[in-house]
């Protein structure tokens, strides 16, 4: 198993990426070779300094970097020798089994959508977020911003992909799927929800429990919560702000610590045929380590194939 990591992506690259790789190998369960993609002259001294085991990595030199604020499509096209472009080239060619970057989010999305293929039958890939539940559990919300406008059929697919992810990666057996909505009963909501509800109800691949409302997001009602990317993105960013507010007001509570989304490593793109994980720009060592662990788990559990099987 081979996992590609963009060493130049994120505010604290390459140092924190190198430290993350070390942490990955130091935890007991590392089984992948990590392909480090980036500027060799910057990487080599750090790899020596942090004593990264040479037999477990491979360095692929990239002379260019796509900056955080570059136009995604333009940058990917013009910077073919950037770490992100090379990562997707390696992924598409089958030289790596997964690709991770904390760099330009737009470029990662464009790369995921166009360099590798969507799973057969998938209308649109999606991105999700972990939701820290009030009872200590973990939920999944999707889409959180890749698809601002959606059709009912897309939401129906998100429900399946979210269920598979919740089962295989979050370890939730028979995850409860809820439709984000503004009322409890069938028939409530906007036009999209009214059209989506019957599809979810008929869907044999998921355990649909009905509508969930804003008050249920942090509660135990549903494990997988489905919405278009507009609503999902607003919920995600509001949730992220709670951590900052708790910090600034010196409210110390383990629950709010769980709103530190850096802990979760990154967001996998679901619905494409190979794992692509997009990290926060502010990723530190722990995030990089967690992203590599997530990629390994997604490969191990054959998540993409299982999604494909359920989507048929």
């Amino acid at each position: 198993m081979t996992i590609g990591l963009d060493m130049m992506g994120g505010d604290f690259a390459p140092l924190e990426a190198v430290k993350g790789v070390l942490e990955y190998f130091q935890q007991g369960n590392s089984s992948a070779t990590v392909v480090l993609i980036g500027d060799e002259s910057k990487l080599e001294p750090l790899l020596s300094e942090y004593k990264i085991p040479a037999d477990k990595i491979k360095v692929v030199h990239a002379v260019q970097v796509i900056d955080m604020h570059e136009h995604p499509t333009k940058a990917l096209k013009e910077k073919q020798k950037s770490s992100i472009a090379i990562g997707f080239q390696l992924l598409a060619a089958g030289n790596i089994d997964a690709f991770i970057s904390a760099g330009n989010t737009g470029a990662m999305l464009v790369g995921a959508l166009f360099s590798i293929k969507a799973l057969e039958g998938v209308l649109r890939p999606t991105i999700s977020t972990i939701i820290p539940k009030e009872n200590g559990g973990t939920g999944l919300l999707l889409d959180v911003g890749l698809n601002a406008d959606c059709k009912p059929e897309q939401l129906n697919q998100f429900a399946i992909m979210g269920s598979v992810f919740a089962q295989t990666i979050l370890g939730i057996e028979n995850p409860k799927v809820g439709l984000m909505n503004v009322g409890e009963e069938e028939g409530k909501g906007n036009i999209l929800c009214q059209a989506t509800y019957p599809l979810l109800k008929e869907n044999k691949h998921i355990n649909f429990i009905g509508n969930v409302e804003g008050r249920d997001v942090l509660m135990d009602k549903a494990d997988v919560m489905v919405c278009e990317g507009f609503t999902g993105n607003i919920i995600l960013k509001l949730a992220e702000s709670l951590y900052d507010i708790a910090q600034s007001k010196k409210i110390q509570h383990e629950y709010f610590d769980r709103f530190n989304f850096e802990n979760y490593g990154g967001t996998p793109v679901l619905g494409v045929n190979k794992p692509v994980i997009i990290g926060h720009g502010i990723s530190q060592a722990k995030s990089f380590k967690n992203m590599i662990v997530l990629a390994q788990k997604m490969i191990d559990k054959n998540v993409m194939q299982r999604m494909k099987d359920e989507l048929v």
Copy 2:
């Protein structure tokens, strides 16, 4: 000035409504006659017990009550002698200047939309919520559920109505208006936002500051935040749940206390030609008092006329 109050609406009616009326008269600034609409046989003993000043109230007997779970349109039609139906009859006839109830929300909305008139030119009335800002200030979010699907022109009107409300009632001079969205720059977002942004930008009646994201909701970026009722309702109910979570986890902090939406009394329907205020079902005395105070303020400041002037 005459304010009508449904004494039978809400889980703790009529007792808490009576106590709320008393609190209203006990605070220094009461200038309205309050018309108490409800079952006389239940009201009279309480009015005596709580020594409600007889010269400042008027009791209007209502033999029926619309229950919390009745179908709004059906109930309003069939229960013409219910406290809510009578309230709207009095309001439409000009016998009261405002109407308040913590009863069946749907019936209150139907009554507001069909018993009295929308302001001239208003496409759709709207409901809003107070947002407790992290810096101690107060924001306004609208729509929060009356209009799950919206057109750009409606959002543009919500921006104007929200601005007038923020100025006159919240006391915010030249309120900053933001469009709830999933990105900062013009052109970002779903189809609705992309079409709404240019309207807000051209709107001379508001101080438009651009897009606001989920992370800005609780921050100081915008005073008035505009969205369709689907997103707004999810944000509102998520915010409400924060208070419950803080309570259940025994997180004591004045900031989270401000997420106790009961404190704010109720939600005025904006865009109709007279003040209608809808309270929480769980309203207690303080909520009832605050709703009467809000109605008085809305009449005093001539909020509806000012909205009408700005909407032209």
